[in-house]
Symmetry: C2
Subunit: 184 residues, 2 copies
């Protein structure tokens, strides 16, 4: 049973060529659980498209204008977008800061590429899309093929089909966290 996470502020990172189904599914599911999903992109107000061009999302804020204290968790969807996010220092920094603050960092399919760039993989058990398993291992992570993996505050899943256990794990982690950002 999934518990509610009303009022928790979740940064959903976007860049062009995200996985359409993952981004729309994450948004729908997390909002249904009561979370406030803030779309964080390279530029505030800009529109980013999915790799299948089925979905377009507008960034609420620019990654460079936010800090870890503004959110209770950060979510990195998959697709080709994480490859682009790796070149955005503000996005790499946000993930590193969130991880360092002990807040949930949840990355799906190719999302762990951004975790590699943020250097938060070493020594952690991680799952991901299989093409990047070798990169996770080379980054010092222990790769496993499971629907969802939680290691400390880093939550990972393999693909869009794992969205439900992925969101459930994130909700659980948020409920264990001390105090939501929205009330601080």
């Amino acid at each position: 049973m999934t518990e509610r996470i009303d009022g928790r502020r979740i940064a959903l990172l976007v860049e062009n060529d995200f996985d359409d189904r993952e981004v729309s599914g994450l948004r729908r599911r997390l909002e249904a659980l009561g979370a406030i999903v803030v779309v964080v992109g390279p530029s505030a107000g800009a529109r980013y498209h999915g790799r299948l061009r089925e979905e377009v999302v507008r960034a609420d804020v620019a990654a460079g204008a936010v800090r870890a204290r503004d959110f209770d968790a950060v979510v990195v969807p998959g697709g080709w977008a994480p490859d682009r996010m790796r070149l955005r220092h503000s996005m790499v920094d946000l993930v590193r800061e969130m991880a360092g603050a002990g807040k949930p960092v949840a990355a799906l399919s190719h999302g762990p590429q951004l975790c590699i760039s943020a250097n938060i993989v070493r020594g952690r058990t991680i799952t991901c899309w299989p093409s990047i398993a070798i990169d996770v291992k080379n980054a010092g992570g222990l790769y496993v093929d499971r629907p969802v993996v939680e290691d400390g505050n880093v939550i990972t899943s393999r693909k869009g089909d794992d969205l439900e256990p992925f969101c459930d794990a994130l909700a659980g982690a948020l409920l264990r966290a001390p105090m939501p950002a929205s009330r601080r």
Copy 2:
């Protein structure tokens, strides 16, 4: 000045979402130098599209049906295709076999992802698209930002704009190789 490589057989690896400009440019330039470019994909006769859907190529042969002895060199173009090629054992094996046979392995932009999967990066100087520089380093490669890098039989470039020095380096390596596959 670029020397001619008449009759040299070059395997050009393709999968969906390759970089349109790189694949068309590589093919044109290598054929202009006299090479026989063989398009190698997951399935013979199947068509693969570029990430911008501007180019479609038909695979001449399946990767699983060829061996290193059939070619004088292998070329891995960039785009999102290398991420897909990493999951094709026959493509990973072909790159590993070519590298082991001392034949030129030339990889452009995201192409070195396939070299990481083939485990031929360790101890080599490599260039690539900047997003995967950290993966190259984590795989034991020495990453440098230069238009073209040759380390033994592995030739790498950063992006489509480097196509000319990339093809020139490949042509030079082929001319230094002992005997073309076509005459064996």
